[in-house]
Symmetry: C2
Subunit: 251 residues, 2 copies
DNA sequence: AAAATAGTGTCTGTGAGACACTATGTT
DNA sequence: AACATAGTGTCTCACAGACACTATTTT
């Protein structure tokens, strides 16, 4: 193996992406950065929520993913191209606002899809994002005909890597819900342990034992004095999320 | 809040980044994708390893990160610009090969850094990557003067977001080492439990109890019949990593 | 002999999982 | 009364953490 240290021997004399030179970048042929082909960069977002399963609204809550109608027909995750000078997160917020009327999201990056042939229109990288919010904040959009929610575990036919994005978003959501009570606030400020458990079952994709679940969550909950009413069976105490679970030295 | 469903009202009529139209993309002003400004895309990689601490080589192993010399002076993580039609992972492999003579890495994406002002040379996104490999595979590069290894928890002065990349890489490595014996093969095919523990201590950044560590790792190890020799104290049995820990239904 | 390392026995505490039981409301 | 739900008691199992002890080699 030939050792090649320091400056590379091809026309790319760059040493790190963050850039350090105050001087305008020129390679040995005198061309600047602007003379090389660059990819378009897009963002796509899997926005998850929980809502009643099926069309009847009777069953247990279910994990759903927001989809928007494509001009070409069919459905896809909301996305857009990154505009000049724009942050990725702002492009995501813009796509959610303009395509689905959704505001106030806090999307997180998932993965960059970079197959040069993944988009027929040209060289397009896509930075996948994920977020979750209560169904009520999507209801306005879904009532129209430009957006819908579909079961996240069987999202129907999605183009290209969108199904993979949804899977990664679900995986991340499950990881977050494994250690905290409803961190994405699908429920309001106070709730019974049954309501909390049904939400966590929707996220986990399977049922949870009520006694184990209660004992695991109780340390992260604060009892309000109040009692639920209007339901079948014995009324239950209402809880709210604890301010902060003390994790000294945590990230 | 104004509901805006379906097609957005600005010039960006794109509905998802993956692209579905067979027709060349044109917006309402008739411009194609090629007419919009696009960012340069770079990759930067934190390549971690474990090696003797300090210059003397006497102490316990320590977590190290590969750095390359910058033309402007100082040190940085290896990186390069993404070439047309190239995959991100291939750009990473190319930068490691040309800047540090390292081959055979399996980098994973960490995060996209997207501050429009992070690089004085222009609009540059950087996709941070991380990987780890045994020190022996870096030794050739580090022997030269174009590359060095530095303690990963105090990597010296690194430009821009490189320190953040190293922190994220260390976090990811610790998470992986918490559940498996030396998954990145810093050690050879067989090793004593002491050697394994010292490597895991280097990754974790603190000492581990030998009895607890042994009992936790034993289920993922297979005893070879052989016994270590040439060390102080009682010789120890040599183990190798188990083929696969059975995790039925796992990802 | 002293030091260094390998390997094991044992106790304690925590927490998940499972089963069963009591308590209190609605229909 | 029947049913649905809330909440708790209790047992078992697994495992981490900690301490102590024995075993075997080098120096």
């Amino acid at each position: 193996m030939t050792k090649r240290l320091g400056r590379g021997s091809d026309s790319d004399s760059r040493n790190e992406a963050t850039g350090t030179g105050r001087e305008p970048f020129r390679d040995r042929s005198g061309r600047s950065l602007q003379d090389y082909p660059r990819p378009s960069v897009a963002v796509d977002t899997a926005l998850l929520t929980v809502g009643p399963s099926g069309g009847d609204g009777t069953g247990s809550p279910e994990l759903l993913v927001l989809q928007v109608r494509r001009p070409a027909g069919g459905w896809a995750l909301p996305g857009t191209f990154l505009h000049p000078g724009e942050r990725l997160i702002d492009a995501v917020l813009r796509s959610l606002r303009e395509k689905a009327g959704v505001t106030g999201a806090s999307p997180r990056q998932l993965h960059v899809f970079d197959d040069p042939d993944r988009d027929e229109r040209g060289w397009v990288l896509s930075v996948a994002h994920a977020d979750a919010m209560p169904l009520a904040r999507l209801a306005g959009a879904i009532d129209g005909d430009g957006a819908r929610s579909a079961p996240a575990t069987s999202p129907g036919s999605l183009p290209y890597d969108h199904a993979e994005i949804v899977r990664a978003a679900v995986r991340q959501l499950r990881h977050r819900y494994a250690s905290a009570p409803d961190p994405d606030r699908f429920l309001g400020p106070s709730f019974t342990l049954r309501e909390l458990r049904l939400v966590h079952e929707a996220v986990a994709g399977h049922t949870l034992q009520k006694d184990t679940f209660r004992r695991r969550m109780e340390s992260a909950l604060v009892p309000t004095g109040r009692i639920s009413s209007g339901t079948r069976g014995r009324p239950a105490e209402l809880f709210r999320r604890a301010r902060r679970v003390s994790t000294p030295g945590g990230p």
